[in-house]
């Protein structure tokens, strides 16, 4: 399971990194969002994987590490705030500049 988990996280990260390297704001924002999913999984897994051990006292004998869960929760919320901001910033950029390309048009790379 550990192998599967880490491979999944890796693949997810790689895909989001690829998106982040695109030249338009929307895919980049989606990439960032997906990266935050991947990162949340990663952060979550630093407490190691446990099945059927929700850290609720009295329900189990073995508990999963609750601390990473709390951290991930915070990270999710912050990630949400950031996603929201960047999405709307992308819209604003589109509204103001008329294109959603992240770079100026005459600057080499994106327009090639």
């Amino acid at each position: 399971m550990e192998t599967l988990f880490s491979v999944t996280v890796g693949v997810l990260t790689a895909c989001s990194v690829f998106l982040i390297l695109r030249g338009r704001s929307f895919p980049v924002v989606v990439g960032i969002t997906m990266l935050s999913y991947a990162v949340n999984l990663f952060l979550f897994s630093t407490g190691r994987l446990t099945i059927d051990g929700a850290p609720i006292l009295g329900t189990n004998t073995e508990y999963a590490d609750p601390l990473p869960q709390a951290l991930v929760l915070t990270a999710i919320v912050i990630g949400f705030a950031m996603t929201a901001y960047s999405v709307i910033l992308a819209v604003r950029t589109r509204g103001e500049i008329g294109t959603d390309e992240v770079n100026e048009q005459d600057s080499g790379e994106s327009s090639r």
Partner: protein
């Protein structure tokens, strides 16, 4: 006990102010908001100063939030370094806010709230002793900086904000990965505890922790604008409004602070297999950053951009100096940090107000009309230039001398000498060029009629006079930074102070 609570006041005051600023304040809210903001900034400043005095007298202050002592709860650890940085923030924030209160805050909504949030985030980042909490405060200060960067709107601003935001979002993701890795290897989040645990690591676990530590370096590198990660800075700082850029003068320093904190405490002298993890890299990158800043200064044709590169130069200087890992290096780096923060802040404001009074030519380094308050700006420019270049008699030269003396007489020391002196020369040439073009070489005819409110000039004057204070009291300040460095390098007693339950007893309400 109330003195104990002093530890958190510099965070809470801006927080509550910001929250109050979010409420509607009737039909003409602006005067009330300004009064509120200024009052709060002054209060923060007072608290920060009291805190510094307190810590200096009674030693490190450990404030266990929620009464959960380290390493289990989050603690604020106010050692000399933290209090120094907090005071610096407060000191910078007040004049910047005064400047902002003169019409700057009308350019868009929520200026005052975001400003206070920003201050809160910065101070929080300086105060916290917990790695994840540091992340949270990084996010607080980042998101408010995103908001502030958009202040005033405009095409260029939008694009550079977009770059800034996206790049920092990537940085935040990397931050989480590294925090995760470090937690997974050490099982703790408290930095002091982590320092203890890191020292016990060996073999493959140590390698994992190293990987995490290095990733963290990249994260802080983005904030501090180290060489390959700095590209956001010139764009961002030069397009945003002056007041925001001036406040941002401390933002790169948050990155620098984090580097100093983490790579001295956690991966510092006691870290066994991870000893001085980042020093070599910081050395090379610091020098490269410095060189890059030099080239950047040479290549720029805009005053603001020039100042932005000055920030980069100062970051390079700081990190290269820090990387000597000696008490003298750290101490001088801190002195220089104080100086460069204040002066770049003043320069950003100056560039802004000059751009305003110059009208069409704005901050481009070209011949333009005379400004309405030409002579005042000329004097201010001269003072700021002398200070930032590091010419006597203002604070810059003291800082520079200190750094040069602290550099070891060795190959690396000579590299630093060479690049720093070269940087000084380039600054000299570029600042004289800028001043000559913008202030001396004016068009004939009537000066521009737009005149900035006097408050703005007062604010800049306040910051510049700080440079004078820094010069006059250079020695006591240096003494203080020396003690900061000593405390910082004493990485053995730091954890014992932090982790030992400060309040003694357990939570006892039942």
């Amino acid at each position: 006990m109330w003195q104990q609570h002093l530890a958190i006041l510099p965070i809470l005051i801006p927080l509550f102010t910001a929250l109050l600023q979010l409420l509607p304040w009737g039909d003409r809210p602006q005067p009330k908001r300004r009064a509120l903001g200024l009052a709060s900034s002054i209060l923060t400043l007072v608290c920060a100063a009291l805190l510094l005095v307190h810590v200096n007298q009674n030693g490190m202050l450990v404030y266990a939030l929620g009464d959960w002592s380290a390493p289990f709860g989050i603690v604020l650890v106010l050692d000399k370094l933290s209090t120094l940085m907090i005071l610096l923030t407060a000191v910078l924030a007040l004049p910047v806010l005064i400047y902002g209160c003169y019409t700057e805050d009308n350019l868009g909504s929520h200026f005052h709230a975001l400003f206070q949030f920003q201050v809160m985030g910065i101070i929080g980042a300086f105060a916290t002793g917990d790695l994840f909490n540091l992340f949270v405060f990084f996010e607080v200060l980042l998101i408010s900086s995103y908001g502030l960067m958009m202040h005033g709107g405009g095409k260029f601003r939008v694009r550079s904000t977009l770059h800034y935001v996206l790049l920092n979002l990537l940085g935040s993701a990397l931050f989480l990965i590294s925090v995760g890795t470090l937690y997974a290897t050490t099982g703790t989040l408290n930095m002091a505890d982590m320092a203890v645990k890191v020292a016990q690591l060996s073999g493959d676990e140590a390698a994992l922790a190293r990987a995490g530590g290095f990733m963290l370096l990249a994260v802080f590198g983005i904030k501090a604008a180290i060489l390959p990660l700095h590209f956001w800075l010139p764009q961002a700082y030069s397009t945003t409004t002056g007041v925001v850029a001036a406040l941002f003068a401390i933002m790169t320093k948050v990155g620098v602070y984090s580097i100093i904190r983490v790579y001295t405490l956690i991966f510092g002298p006691e870290a066994n297999e991870l000893v001085w993890l980042a020093a070599d890299w910081l050395w090379i990158l610091g020098i490269l950053t410095l060189i890059f800043g030099i080239i950047g200064m040479l290549g720029t044709r805009d005053f603001r951009l020039l100042v932005a590169y000055l920030v980069i130069v100062s970051v390079g200087t700081l990190l290269a100096t820090y990387s000597f890992s000696s008490a003298a290096g750290i101490s001088t780096a801190l002195f220089y940090l104080i100086h460069s923060t204040v002066i770049t802040g003043a320069l950003f404001l100056l560039a802004d107000v000059m751009a305003f009074e110059r009208g069409k030519t704005a901050s481009r380094i070209v011949t333009g009309k005379r400004m309405a308050n030409h002579n005042t700006y000329a004097v201010m420019f001269l003072i700021a230039a002398i200070a930032i270049i590091g010419l006597p008699p203002l604070s810059g030269f003291a800082g520079k001398l200190m750094i040069l003396q602290a550099a070891p007489v060795s190959t690396s020391g000579f590299w630093l000498w060479g690049t720093m002196l070269l940087a000084t020369l380039v600054m000299l040439i570029m600042m004289s060029r800028t001043g000559s073009k913008m202030i001396w070489h004016t068009l004939q005819g009537k000066p521009n009629e737009q005149s900035a409110p006097i408050g703005k000039r007062v604010a800049i004057g306040m910051l510049l006079s700080l440079s004078l204070i820094l010069t006059i009291f250079a020695n006591p300040i240096r003494d203080y930074t020396d003690s900061v460095a000593d405390e910082l390098l004493d990485t053995q007693s730091y954890p014992t102070t932090v982790i030992a339950p400060s309040s003694g007893e357990e939570n006892q309400y039942e």
